[in-house]
Every structure is written in structure tokens, then in C-alpha cells.
């Protein structure tokens, strides 16, 4: 457990240092996020139905923030694998007695923690810009968010595994951001089966909490069961695919190839 913790600390520190060292890049990312958000907000103001402007803006804030979170967690792990292979450090990571899957887990957690800080800032900035103050009920949001994040980690492992084998997956990662957008923006009312896709249920519940003021005790147990099922299912699926891809890469000698 101590070794796990040291691994997590080392990766969080590294991610933080790199975010600082690549500060222009980090700032550009935040500005891009904010300007796209402004574009959507103005779109609602200009061409949206005046009667539902407020609710639409609130939906956009929650969906867009969630998409950014999913995008950062899931996509960034794919980019990290590609970058590590290009740098020549991927093999070094794979030689750690902790196992590359543990390193990737710490990277996912570290990325989530660091981006969570940025996301909270962006959330308040978005609310301030639009004048739409959402219900930030931490006690209700955190349990839902943790279960949702676990299913995102599962997706992250799938992307990391595919990247380890194929490496040149940049085009796929570009497409993935639209898939993630679809998963976060789609309303669950379209089909109940969508609840079994990764993090769709989670986003729906967070929307309920932040927009409709639903509290933790008001969330039906069935919804939590679905969230829990999704978290376990996608995490296990992600790990299974990751281990399989790692083995394929180690059998075919693809670990260092780019």
C-alpha cells in the first residue's frame, strides 16, 4: 500500500511539474475551453428559445464541464502512451516492478486530481459569465462522481491498451472526443438503455443534482446500482483489454515501436 501511495505521489508530482513547465500549453487549453463555451453561450442567447434560455445554459454548463473532464481523463491517457513511446520512456515504465497498469492507474488518478482543480475553476467561471448559479451540493455530487470516474478510468484503460499496440492512434483520439461529447450531451430520456453506456447515467444524475436540486437521499437505489454496475463493468473491461494489449505488445515486440 505504501508503494502504491509513493507511486501515486510520484506520478501526481510529475504531471503537476509538466503542467507547470508546459504552462503556455496549459493556458491555451483553458482559454480554448472558455472561448468554445462562450460561443455556445452566445449561441443560446442569440438563436435559442428565450423561454428556455436559462435551463439550456445550465445544461450546457454541466454537459460541457463533464465532457471536458471525460476528454481529459480518457483522451489524455492515450496521448500519454503515444508521447512516452515517442520519447523512449514507455519501455522504462514497463520495466517497473510495480507493473505498467499500476503506473497508468496512478496517472489516471493524478490527471483527474489536477484537472479537477481546473474544472472547478472553469465551472465557477462559466457560472459567473452566464449568471446561472448551479446547485453545488458536494455531498450529493461526490459519490456519484466517484462511481462515474471509475467507469471513465475503464475507458481510459481501453484507450491506453489500444495505444500501446497501435501507437499511431491520433486520428482515433480526435474522433473519440466527439464520441465523448455525444455520451455527455445525450439526454437519458432518449432511451433507458443509454444508462448502461459509460458515464451517461452519472452525467444524468449530476445534472439532476446541479440543475434540479436533487439530493443524495432522493436518488433511487436502482440508479446507484446501475452506476455501481457500470463502474465495475467498465473498469474490469478496461483492465482486461489493457492486459491483453500489453501481452500482445510484449509478444510482438511493439512496446518501443512508434
Amino acid at each position: 500500500m505504501v508503494r502504491w501511495l509513493n507511486l501515486l505521489k510520484a506520478n501526481t508530482r510529475k504531471e503537476y511539474i509538466e503542467l507547470k513547465r508546459y504552462l503556455p500549453n496549459t493556458l491555451a487549453m483553458l482559454f480554448t475551453f472558455y472561448f468554445i463555451f462562450l460561443g455556445m453561450f452566445l449561441g443560446i442567447q442569440v438563436i435559442g428559445d428565450p423561454g428556455s434560455q436559462d435551463i439550456n445554459t445550465q445544461h450546457v454548463i454541466v454537459n460541457y464541464i463533464f465532457w471536458f473532464l471525460a476528454f481529459m481523463i480518457i483522451n489524455s491517457i492515450g496521448w500519454e502512451v503515444i508521447n512516452e513511446a515517442m520519447r523512449g520512456t514507455l519501455e522504462q515504465l514497463n520495466m517497473s516492478p510495480m507493473g505498467i497498469w499500476r503506473i497508468m492507474t496512478s496517472r489516471l488518478i493524478a490527471t483527474t486530481l489536477l484537472y479537477a482543480v481546473m474544472i472547478v475553476f472553469l465551472l465557477y467561471l462559466s457560472m459567473f459569465t452566464t449568471g446561472q448559479w448551479l446547485n453545488i451540493d458536494i455531498v450529493s455530487i461526490i459519490p456519484v462522481l466517484i462511481l462515474t470516474l471509475i467507469s471513465m478510468f475503464g475507458m481510459g484503460f481501453i484507450i491506453a491498451g489500444i495505444s500501446i499496440v497501435l501507437k499511431q492512434v491520433q486520428a482515433f483520439l480526435q474522433i473519440l472526443q466527439f464520441i465523448l461529447a455525444a455520451l455527455t450531451f445525450v439526454p437519458l430520456s432518449l432511451s433507458p438503455l443509454l444508462a448502461y453506456l459509460p458515464f451517461v447515467k452519472g452525467v444524468d444524475l449530476v445534472r439532476d443534482i446541479m440543475i434540479n436540486g436533487v439530493t443524495l437521499t432522493q436518488i433511487p437505489a436502482g440508479d446507484f446500482l446501475i452506476l455501481g454496475f457500470n463502474a465495475i463493468f467498465y473498469l474490469l473491461l478496461g483492465l482486461g483489454i489493457f492486459f491483453y494489449c500489453e501481452r500482445v505488445a510484449m509478444s510482438k515486440g511493439l512496446m518501443a515501436h512508434y
Binding site: 505504501v2 508503494r3 502504491w4 509513493n6 507511486l7 505521489k9 510520484a10 506520478n11 508530482r13 510529475k14 511539474i17 509538466e18 513547465r21 508546459y22 520519447r87 523512449g88 520512456t89 519501455e91 522504462q92 515504465l93 514497463n94 520495466m95 517497473s96 516492478p97 510495480m98 507493473g99 503506473i103 501481452r247 510484449m250 509478444s251 510482438k252 515486440g253 512496446m255 518501443a256
Partner: protein, 328 residues
């Protein structure tokens, strides 16, 4: 002497994507490495060295065969085995260029489960040992290639593993830094009883550092012997004969027939014959041939050979391996 690495009947085959043809990268390779020795793993490009090294450090799964590191089966308990082995496979590319020297050391230690506090003293020692103390807060991308290479080795050292694998540790380094790295490696083995496996094309490095070499060609081991033995053996078997004139066509043909590895350099005043004998006893045949064919000999000298020449001779004459192994 205790073996820290035991490799038995290792095989690895790749399938070419386009032609679907199978390439036997490593075929039935077996060798062992003693604790506290520096072993040179040598061979021409494409011989199977890198494949062997990657299987040793658990980056590549062999088709068959076994690898034991400190008694641990790498195929069954890979992560456990990796505690005993570390490697520098791509030199300065194995580092994070946007982190400082110290941050790199701390990060890689963290990836093996150590805290910054656990390794603080050891990092200070390594920085001094590798002459990097003044650069500890410098970003890696601002260091010279030599310093980056030293840092990569320091990272491998920090792992506290008994075995360190180094692929081309002195590639691209200037003479001074190359010498410094060699001295550091010697000290590591002498003072810390670690085991080092070096893969290199620089035969001066091999001759200077390695006690023993395993030479691989076309995926097979063609020589496994002490450097000292190989030097002695080839010195004994390599001669330069200075002749008092030219050889006739007939004499030349006869020499080539009897001694296929002879090199004749004609000169009207003093011609030379450079000859490698397959066995030391062949020297008697050589005397007979020279005498019976009235070849005028002015001097007969033992040739000085360096390890590079030996390496080339072994590669060219794979059939001599048997006799080498027996002689040692």
C-alpha cells in the same frame, strides 16, 4: 561462482507483416551470467542481441525457453523478477527531458514504489558519483549528451537492482566522457558487487570492461568465452611471416589451399603472409609447407590482435567457435 542469470534454450520468432515470413531472431540461446561480472553481449546488427536483452528485462515474451534472474522465473513472476534488474536501453531517450536531473531520479524511484525521502541520500550519492551534483536542478534537455547518458545510468543504478543491462552505454560520447562512464561502471562492479550486461559495438569498451563475452550471430551463440582467453587464443594463432621476395602462383595457391585464412601482401623486397591458424598445432604444418616449397622466410612474428579483430574473425569464421570453446 554463483550465477545470477540463467538463460536456457531461448527462442523468439517474428512474423513479417508483408511477406508473412518467419524470422528466427533468437534460436536456442543458452548462457549464464555470474554475480559481480561484466558480460559483453555482442553481435552484428540484426544478430538478436536486442531481442535477447529485451527478453532478459521482461519487455518481450519468448516463444520458449527460460530466464531466471536471481532464481526468479521471469516468465512466471515477471514483476517480481524486475525488482532485480534495471536497464538503459535507449540512453538519453530513457529520460524525461522537461524534468530536472533530480526530478528524473525521484520520478523513476517513485515508479518503483520508493518515496522521495527513501531515496534522498542515495540520490545525493549518485549525483556525486556521476559528477552531476552541480546540475541537479538543470532540465535534462539542457544537459550535454554525455551528462544525459550518465543520468540514464544513474537512474538504472538507483533501482538498487543486482543486474544492470546497458545497451550501447558509450554511444555518441566524446573520449573523455566515454572514459568517465567506463570508470564509473568498473567502480560499480568493484564496490557494489553488481552485475552488468553490456551490449556494444565499441570493442575498445568491451575489451576494457568485460570479463567475458557472449557473441551472437543470426540468433545463435557462436562464442561464449572470457575476453582474456580469446585474446590469448588469437594471439597464439595469428602470425605475420615476412618473406624475402615474391611467391610463385603455385606457392600462393598451395598456401591458400592449406590455410584458407591467409592474407598475402606481395612486395618485390619483402612480401608478407598474415595467417590465422585454426588450431595452435597447425603451426607444424605451416613450417612444413614453407620448408618443402622452398618459401624464403626472413622473420616469423606473432601478430598483436585487438578485440575488434578477434570479433571480426569470429564472425567470419563461425566454424572456429567449437575449437575456441574447447581451448578455453
Amino acid at each position: 561462482m554463483e550465477s545470477i542469470i540463467e538463460v536456457k534454450n531461448l527462442k523468439k520468432t517474428y512474423k513479417k507483416r508483408k511477406t508473412r515470413e518467419y524470422i528466427h531472431a533468437v534460436s536456442d540461446v543458452s548462457f549464464h551470467v555470474h554475480r559481480g561480472e561484466i558480460l559483453g553481449l555482442l553481435g552484428p546488427n540484426g544478430a538478436g542481441k536486442t531481442t535477447t536483452i529485451k527478453m532478459l528485462c521482461g519487455l518481450l515474451i519468448p516463444d520458449s525457453g527460460s530466464i531466471q534472474v536471481n532464481g526468479i522465473d521471469m516468465r512466471k513472476k515477471r514483476l517480481h523478477g524486475l525488482r532485480h534488474i534495471s536497464a538503459v536501453l535507449e540512453g538519453n531517450r530513457n529520460l524525461y527531458w522537461r524534468l530536472t536531473v533530480r526530478e528524473n531520479l525521484e520520478y523513476f524511484a517513485g515508479n518503483r514504489g520508493f518515496s522521495r525521502k527513501d531515496v534522498a541520500v542515495r540520490i545525493d550519492e549518485l549525483l556525486v558519483q556521476f559528477n552531476l551534483k552541480e546540475k541537479e536542478n538543470e532540465l535534462v534537455n539542457r544537459l550535454s549528451r554525455g551528462m544525459q547518458q550518465k543520468l540514464a545510468i544513474a537512474v538504472a543504478m538507483l533501482a538498487e537492482s543486482e543486474v544492470i543491462l546497458l545497451d550501447e552505454p558509450t554511444l555518441g560520447l566524446d573520449v573523455e566522457t566515454g572514459y568517465e562512464v567506463r570508470e564509473i561502471l568498473k567502480n560499480i562492479v568493484r564496490d557494489e558487487n553488481r552485475t552488468i550486461i553490456i551490449s556494444s559495438h565499441d570493442m575498445d569498451v568491451v575489451q576494457d570492461l568485460c570479463g567475458r563475452t557472449v557473441i551472437i550471430n543470426e540468433g545463435k551463440i557462436i562464442t561464449d568465452d572470457k575476453v582474456e582467453n580469446l585474446l590469448k587464443l588469437f594471439e597464439v594463432r595469428s602470425y605475420t611471416i615476412t618473406l624475402g621476395g615474391l611467391l610463385t602462383e603455385e606457392q600462393q595457391q598451395l598456401m591458400h589451399q592449406k590455410f584458407p585464412h591467409v592474407v598475402y601482401t606481395p612486395d618485390t623486397v619483402q612480401s608478407t603472409l598474415e595467417i590465422d591458424l585454426a588450431k595452435s598445432e597447425d603451426i607444424y604444418d605451416l613450417f612444413n609447407v614453407l620448408k618443402l616449397n622452398h618459401i624464403p622466410v626472413e622473420s616469423f612474428d606473432r601478430s598483436t590482435v585487438n578485440f575488434e579483430q578477434i570479433f571480426m574473425k569470429i564472425l567470419k569464421g563461425g566454424e572456429t567457435h567449437g575449437s575456441l570453446a574447447q581451448s578455453s
